[in-house]
Amino acid sequence: MKEGGLQRLALPLTGLLLAMVLVASLAVGDMALSSARLWAGLTKTDEMAAIILWKIRLPRTLVAMEIGAALAASGVIMQAYFRNSLASPGLLGVSAGGSAGAVVAIGMGWAAVSFYVLPVTAIIGALVATVAVIGLAQRGASTERLLLAGVALNALLGAVTSYVLSNFTLSYERNAQIIFWLLGGLEDRTWDHVWMAMPVLICAALLWPLGRSLDLLSLGAADAQSLGVDVKTVRRRMLGLATIMTALATAVAGTVGFVGLVVPHMFRLMFGPEHKRLVPLSLIGGAAFVLICDLIGRSAGGLRLGIVTSVVGGPFFLWMLRRQV
């Protein structure tokens, strides 16, 4: 296949962008670090800089990258699965499923038992939502049907969250924890959160080789099968990966919307829809996008990540809807 110069440069340019925002994310904050102090902190030769970096900024930055990659990749998968560029974990209710699972775990006090209860319940919640959305909106469903299915699921799962908040938790502390978590953010993220979201890397490695199959599947199942794609296996893998990645992102950072919608669409517009390029670009670009949103939030006096991504993503979504419908 012929490939333009811009497309060949896409991956290195996105990698460069990620490297730049990564450095900015480590350097910018209440106490700005010069490049010399950044290096001294990373090598632990400057004690103060080392504490800031290793205790606060590195875990936060790494979690941001993990959830950005996870949510953007989930968006790519769902868009190929439903053959609709408006499909994304947030709009379809998969994130809300993960949230509901996690909220139940916090509200019931299970999350206090083990650190790993939260991701497991988030995965279960996201899985239930994925199965439900597949039932409600078939593949190739119209934009209207897909969005309505998402609206219904988001409302239903939102009701679960509200019910837990209003009836289950008698503890003020737990309620505050739930609300703080629901807003979606990267404050106080620790290395435990970095490790919790680490399976995202395995998912990304499993997703990478599926790129070509996603191209073919986005034309329809029969079409893909006739060309030699093992449709059942690929689809199962796609949904499994999208669900786990969304759930892990939700478990470590709460509800962060629109990443799965904005990032793949931007890259598709700039570099074309081929998934062998779009998958790695979305993984790397998703990480960069969330870091940028987090930097904006930090620079704006501590705006939470979920608010920033929604402010960026909401108008973008409306623009896409206007173009598509």
Binding site: M1, K2, Q79, R83, N84, S85, G140, R212, D215, L216, S218, L219, G220, A222, D223, Q225, S226, L227, G228, V229, D230, R268, G272, P273, E274
Partner: protein, 239 residues
């Protein structure tokens, strides 16, 4: 050896149990009114729909063939296609080589053959219905399979492109490929080697066009009266 065999395949409510065999190198037309089961039968033959019974390609049972091998042996052209994303025409035609390791062989030739070279870099979601149909046909051509399953390939094409596609079908079968294609236009049935006529999900006739397209059968199946009369004849100009 038969290139294609269907034995006791059926889909409740859509296709009654039927068995047919197609010899290699034949251009076979599936003819019948709307809803007679043409697309269902074509999908079963192409291995895209489970119709029970057995389907054999070149004497080998379909279930014994790996999915990748099926992708090399046969090409499917759907009746209509909706492109959700803006892949280029060249990229979609190139997908026909997926089962061959995406080697790109014959893609440019397939584009040229279907008059798509000038559109090769255009996004497929901005093409007309007829252009989309030609893209799918070019993709099938790029696969270079032994079996072709084309579902109403001429439906969206203008006269010239329709005639070119018919010529292409003849050329492919002359070179040894076997083709099963559903059709609505009975006026081009004389181009076929064999006709399978379907009526309300059952096989109403099998044979050469002259044997199957009789006045009585057309009245029974389509409810029309056939009259052979001289009329407009369209042919492609000599190169």
């Amino acid at each position: 050896m038969n290139a294609l065999e269907l034995n006791d395949v059926a889909v409740p409510g859509r296709l009654e149990k039927l068995s047919v065999a197609v010899e290699a190198g034949k251009l076979v037309g599936l003819i019948g009114p709307n809803g007679s089961g043409k697309s269902t039968m074509l999908s079963i033959a192409a291995g895209l729909l489970d119709g029970g019974g057995t389907v054999k390609w070149g004497g080998r049972r379909l279930m014994d063939l790996a999915i990748m091998e099926r992708g090399r042996l046969a090409a499917w052209v759907p009746q209509e296609v909706q492109f959700a994303f803006g892949f280029t025409v060249r990229a979609v035609v190139g997908q026909g080589r997926f089962a061959h390791g995406d080697d790109g062989t014959g893609v440019e030739e397939a584009l040229a053959r279907l008059d798509l070279t000038t559109l090769a870099d255009r996004p497929v979601n901005r093409l007309s219905g007829g252009e989309c149909q030609r893209v799918m046909l070019a993709r099938a051509l790029a696969t270079q399979p032994r079996l072709h399953f084309w579902d109403e390939p001429l439906a969206a094409l203008d006269v010239r492109h329709g005639l070119e596609v018919l010529m292409l079908a003849r050329e492919l079968t002359r070179n040894g490929a076997t083709m099963l294609m559903s059709l609505h236009d009975l006026r081009i049935a004389h181009c076929l080697d064999q006709v399978l006529m379907l009526d309300r999900g059952r096989l109403a006739g099998v044979g050469t066009p002259d044997e199957v397209l009789t006045e009585a059968r057309l009245r029974d199946v389509f409810g029309v009266k056939m009259r052979i009369a001289p009329g407009m004849i369209l042919e492609l100009p000599s190169p």
